[in-house]
Symmetry: C2
Subunit: 84 residues, 2 copies
DNA sequence: TCAATGTTTAGGCAAATGTCTAAATAAAAC
DNA sequence: GTTTTATTTAGACATTTGCCTAAACATTGA
């Protein structure tokens, strides 16, 4: 839960998630969309992975990142307790 | 959106929100539940207010904090785009 | 094998964060 | 009117965060 909220608490990381809504992408393709350096984006991706918001698979020299939506259910569950 | 995620990215603040699920409470009553100083809790309450997650009304020498659930809809809306 | 490409790791730095104590403000009680 | 009670503001400090550059690692291609 901590890692989840931490990962979401950054506009760049949220933008990465929105980018991945359109389908998986390599680290490089993701980094191209932003004005930050590749290491910076790599670090953001690491935090997203720690929160289980994305998964990564190595494909040759590329690393493909994929959105993992199942963890959103945890967040929805947390929110739901406030809606009653 | 930034203030919202920022406010949620702290276990103490989330615990305050859960506390307020049971109804409004004064700053002092909230502070009693935690091991932090009153100024620290006051600061947390300020961040929650900035995110519009709580409202505050002064009642005599007390300040009563109330959960504001309407802002959760914004968060639900953001989440929803990922569920399709 | 050597060079190029894609990504991560390491280390450094400024800014933001979470905590504290001390002081200020405001209302209540004596 | 002075003291107590409730809360916030101010300022300090250690830790975390987000960024960078340089270097390392891993794979592909000549």
């Amino acid at each position: 839960m901590n890692a989840l909220f931490k990962a979401l608490n950054d506009p760049t990381r949220r933008a990465i998630l929105e980018r991945l809504r359109n389908g998986p992408a390599t680290a490089g393709a993701i980094a191209e969309q932003f004005q930050f350096s590749a290491p910076t984006i790599s670090h953001h991706l690491d935090l997203l992975r720690q929160a289980d918001l994305v998964t990564s698979q190595k494909q040759g020299q590329f690393v493909v990142y994929t959105l993992n939506m199942t963890v959103f259910d945890e967040l929805l569950g947390w929110l739901y307790q406030f809606k009653s």
